[in-house]
Structures are given as structure tokens and as C-alpha cells.
């Protein structure tokens, strides 16, 4: 290997790990470089398998290994934490499993649960706390009410009953045959992920509730989210649904604080 700067040596060595056909610098032993390349791939594929165990069981070990290897090539890790290696894997799977969209939805749920597992701690607001916080609100305040959800709370629209598939793909699930079936949902649905104490959990909800929560998570006021709900369901149904949703989010411990937008 010709004398080179440390930066050059490290860039060349990293290229050897990422791409097998990268030029081998003079003086380096190919067999020994391969030890590092194989360890890199094995470690990252294992990390993805650990983050997406149910997706791996659903698509099968070999298909998962190929998908993970593809992801490493398309999106080589650049974060200091191995936990981030799986970011974007659902997008990789969407491109690889175009005819099996439930794979992407399952991976989305596993990633959301993974992120939620280490999100910041917060104490949820209960119904009494919510009542006290909003006791003096005027009608205008209610329209500008903002709900702040626990860190890590996520929501997405789904076309498949991933919640039904989830327990069947647990490590200790006894019957692989029970997974057979069509998991397409007759109605569009959504899934909320949040954390109860230390445990990430999820809840399947209607598409309308999912849409409402997604608006709130991206900064909409309660009034704005309710207006979208009226547009979707009509006024009477929307009023009833909005109250039911808010009650559920409080009961499940998803909301950490409320305030009024300026």
C-alpha cells in the first residue's frame, strides 16, 4: 500500500467493506480484508433482523437476508448508533415487495415500536388532569386547543390488519400455519403507536381517527382537526367521533399536555 494520508487510508478501507469489487490497496491481504467485510455485513444484517423480527418471519429468512443486504448497499449506515441502521428499511421493502404491501406495513409498525422503545420519558395526562387544564377554556380556546402527545407517538394509514398478524409472528408463536390467510382490511384503517410506561404498544383505529391524530401530531389545532373530521364524516358524526377519540387518547395515556395556540 503506497503511503497515503490517514483519511485516504480510511476512505479506501471503508470502500472495501461496502463494495466487494473496490480496488484492494497494495500490501493489504484480500483474505484478511474479507474478514472485516463479512463481519460488517453479518453485524448489520443481524441488527436489522433484531429490529424487524416479525418482518423476517413473515418473508422468510433468506428473503429477509437478501432484502437486508440490499438495504445496506442502498443505504449504508452513517449514524454512530446501530439502532439507526434500520431507518428507511420499510421503504427498501416497499420497492422489493411491490406485490406484498403488507410487508411494508409490518415493517413500519416494527420501526415505530423500535423508535418508541427509547423515546423520551413523559407522564401522560389523565382525564382529571385534562379537565383541570381546560376548565377555564373559552369557545375560542377550544378551537385553538393543541394536544401534545407522548414522545414517540406515531400514526399511519394501513390497508392490512397488521394488528391481527402481529401476535402470530411473535417469537414464541406456536403455529406458523395460523398465519396463512388474507390480511387485507375491508375498510381502510390506521394504527397508533405510543408507549405505556416502558412498553411500546399499538392500537388499530378507523382511518378517520388516524387522519385526525396525524393532523394533530403535525401541529394542527384541535379545531382544525375537527374541521377536517366534519368534512370527512359530516357534522353530527364528527362531533360524536371527536369526543370519543379524545376520550380514548386520554384513557390510553397518549396525551402529555395541552395548551392553546397563540
Amino acid at each position: 500500500m503506497a503511503p497515503t494520508s490517514l483519511a485516504g487510508t480510511q476512505a479506501a478501507f471503508m470502500a472495501l467493506l461496502l463494495k466487494e469489487d473496490s480496488p484492494l490497496p497494495e500490501g493489504l491481504d484480500a483474505e484478511r480484508v474479507a474478514i472485516y467485510r463479512n463481519a460488517y455485513r453479518a453485524r448489520l444484517v443481524d441488527a436489522l433482523r433484531e429490529t424487524y423480527p416479525r418482518t423476517a418471519r413473515w418473508v422468510g429468512d433468506e428473503a429477509f437476508r437478501r432484502a437486508a443486504a440490499h438495504h445496506l448497499i442502498a443505504s449504508p449506515p452513517n449514524s454512530w448508533t446501530l439502532d439507526e441502521a434500520g431507518r428507511g428499511f420499510a421503504d427498501t421493502l416497499a420497492a422489493l415487495f411491490r406485490k406484498d404491501p403488507e410487508v411494508t406495513e409490518l415493517a413500519w409498525l416494527e420501526w415505530a415500536m423500535h423508535e418508541c422503545f427509547v423515546s423520551a420519558d413523559a407522564t401522560p395526562l389523565d382525564a382529571a388532569g385534562f379537565a383541570a387544564a381546560t376548565a377555564q377554556y373559552s369557545e375560542s380556546d377550544w378551537a385553538r386547543l393543541r394536544l401534545h402527545f407522548l414522545p414517540g407517538t406515531q400514526c399511519t394509514a394501513l390497508e392490512h390488519r397488521i394488528h391481527a398478524l402481529w401476535p402470530l409472528l411473535a417469537e414464541d408463536s406456536p403455529d406458523e400455519a395460523a398465519r396463512d390467510g388474507d390480511y387485507r382490511s375491508e375498510q381502510p384503517i390506521a394504527c397508533i403507536v405510543w408507549r405505556q410506561a416502558l412498553k411500546p404498544v399499538f392500537l388499530p383505529v378507523s382511518a378517520a381517527e388516524g387522519n385526525t391524530l396525524s393532523l394533530l401530531l403535525t401541529g394542527a389545532s384541535y379545531g382544525e382537526a375537527c374541521a377536517a373530521l366534519v368534512h370527512r364524516l359530516g357534522e353530527d358524526a364528527a362531533v360524536a367521533e371527536a369526543g370519543t377519540m379524545l376520550g380514548r387518547w386520554l384513557h390510553e395515556g397518549m396525551i402529555r399536555a395541552v395548551d392553546v395556540a397563540p
Binding site: P3, L6, M14, L17, G27, Y36, W80
Partner: protein, 282 residues
């Protein structure tokens, strides 16, 4: 800077691994300290932080990192240092350690402990990075000798000369991984005795014991019991390291806790046995 020297530190510890969380949370585990992989706890919240903070109430903790990339030519990652300092401020560890290696370029992270060329340029890079890390963390780093499978043809010094120079120039402590010496000695054809003789042993704060996979090239797998040749080196070296903390490092194929405690007991017994020979095996 805060620092606990040999003789004042807890002596015998284990790595705190997920498989044993319940053991540590529900009962008294007979160890003087635990070592944790720092990055696993450099998170915003949730169960990992809960477990570590609970264990810390009764047990000393050493923070052992794998991603500082102290040998990276483009310097240290600011967000990484900030997260590590936050963790250290919360946990008040015995010390903060990482490896003499590099893991990333500015573009990619290998998540592996990659070998450095042992050149004057690399030495300067490492020392600059150690100074920055120590200044930022407000404590001396403890650096572990790596295991490796290849050497660079442009090397200008031995690994032990490289590490001794880091310690001398930066004042950092050393974590002596005896398994890594056994692995690298086999892979590169040097004598463990030369390695040990070339290090400033007064800088050693901790010893790692681990297992590896044998072959034409030994692989540092940490997935099996401590090997016989590592135990032999340990028995020879410990009389030169009075009061230094010792840990069994197991990262894969993790057995039930009693099995590791048995290995730790073996470490305790060998370290307290009168030396049969003062020479390190060549």
C-alpha cells in the same frame, strides 16, 4: 478531571447484558461493578435508561463505548460526545472507555472496530481526538487495545509502542484486553511478552477477559468462555497489575449468569494466587 486509580476501584465485574437484566433488577448479583456498552444507553428514555439507573443505585458502572472512533481522521462526532457526556453526568461512572481503533469516515459507519495504521500521522490524529474527548467529557478516557486481523504495510511502530505513546502524550488510562493480545499475537506473530513489556502498566485501569474463535486467523468473537491461553496470560500479568479491575466480557451466545459468575470466580482465584512464574509467556 475525575479519576479513580488502581487500588481504589472495585475489582471484579461483568458486562450488563440484556439477557441478565432481570437477574440484576430482582436480586443481588455478587459483582463489584458492571460494564455497559455506552451507546445502548445514549438514548432519550425508556427501558434501557430505567434499567441502568436502577442497577446504578447499588452497583458501580463503567461505561464502555464502541463508536467514539477515536482514530477517525476527520475528528470526533459532536452529537456523539454530547450524548456520552449526558450519560456520564447521569451515571457517574467509574470511567469512560473506548477502543484504539476507528469505526467511521465522514460518510459511513462500519459499526466495527477497524484497525489503524500505526504511523506517526495516525498517532497525532488519535492524540488530538483523545485530548478533545477528555476536554469535552471532563475526565480522562480509558482506551482498550484492539484485536485485529491485518496490519498496514506502512506501519512505523508496533501496536504497543503506539498505545504507550497515546498514554504518554494524553494522560489517558488503559484497558488491557488480554484476549485481544492473544488474538492479535497469533494473527500478527508477535509475543505477548513483548506487548506487555512495552506498555506503561501503571496506566492500566481495567482488564478484559473474553473468548475467541480459533483458526488460522483467530477471530475475536466474545461468544465463548475465556480461552486457556488467555487465562495463562492473565495469571502471569496480574501480579504486575495490583488493584486493577477485572471483567469477563461476553457479547454473544450469552450463557446463564451463574456460568459467568463462575468464570469471574476463577479470575478472582487466579489473581489472588501467588505467582508461579514472573515471566509472561512469549
Amino acid at each position: 478531571m475525575n479519576e479513580k486509580g488502581p487500588g481504589t476501584a472495585p475489582r471484579y465485574g461483568l458486562g450488563l447484558r440484556r439477557a441478565h437484566y432481570d437477574d440484576f433488577l430482582t436480586g443481588r448479583v455478587p459483582v463489584d461493578f458492571v460494564e455497559v456498552i455506552s451507546e445502548n444507553f445514549m438514548v432519550d428514555g425508556g427501558n434501557p435508561r430505567h434499567v441502568l439507573e436502577t442497577v446504578r443505585r447499588d452497583t458501580d458502572v463503567a461505561l464502555h463505548g464502541v463508536s467514539m472512533s477515536i482514530g477517525s481522521a476527520d475528528g470526533l462526532h459532536g452529537n456523539y460526545l454530547q450524548r456520552l457526556r449526558d450519560l456520564a453526568d447521569r451515571i457517574e461512572p467509574l470511567w469512560v472507555s473506548d477502543h484504539v481503533c476507528w469505526t467511521r469516515t465522514s460518510a459511513h459507519n462500519s459499526h466495527d472496530l477497524l484497525p489503524l495504521p500505526y504511523t506517526r500521522e495516525a498517532l497525532q490524529v488519535v492524540c488530538d481526538n483523545v485530548h478533545r474527548a477528555q476536554d469535552y467529557l471532563g475526565r480522562p478516557l480509558v482506551l482498550e487495545n484492539p484485536s485485529s486481523y491485518l496490519a498496514f504495510p506502512g506501519d512505523e511502530m508496533s501496536e504497543w509502542e503506539f498505545i504507550a505513546a497515546i498514554a504518554s502524550r494524553t494522560g489517558c488510562g488503559l484497558l488491557l484486553d488480554l484476549n485481544n493480545i492473544v488474538v492479535s499475537a497469533h494473527n500478527h506473530g508477535f509475543a505477548p511478552a513483548d506487548y506487555i513489556a512495552g506498555l506503561p502498566l501503571q496506566r492500566v485501569r481495567q482488564v478484559h477477559l473474553a473468548g475467541h474463535t480459533d483458526g488460522a486467523i483467530k477471530i475475536d468473537t466474545h461468544d465463548q468462555p475465556v480461552s486457556a491461553d488467555t487465562w495463562a496470560l492473565y495469571e502471569q500479568v496480574m501480579p504486575m497489575l495490583p488493584g486493577v479491575a477485572v471483567m469477563i466480557e461476553r457479547d454473544d451466545n450469552i450463557p446463564p449468569l451463574p456460568e459467568l459468575l463462575h468464570e469471574l470466580e476463577q479470575a478472582r482465584a487466579l489473581a489472588t494466587r501467588p505467582a508461579r512464574c514472573s515471566r509472561v509467556p512469549a
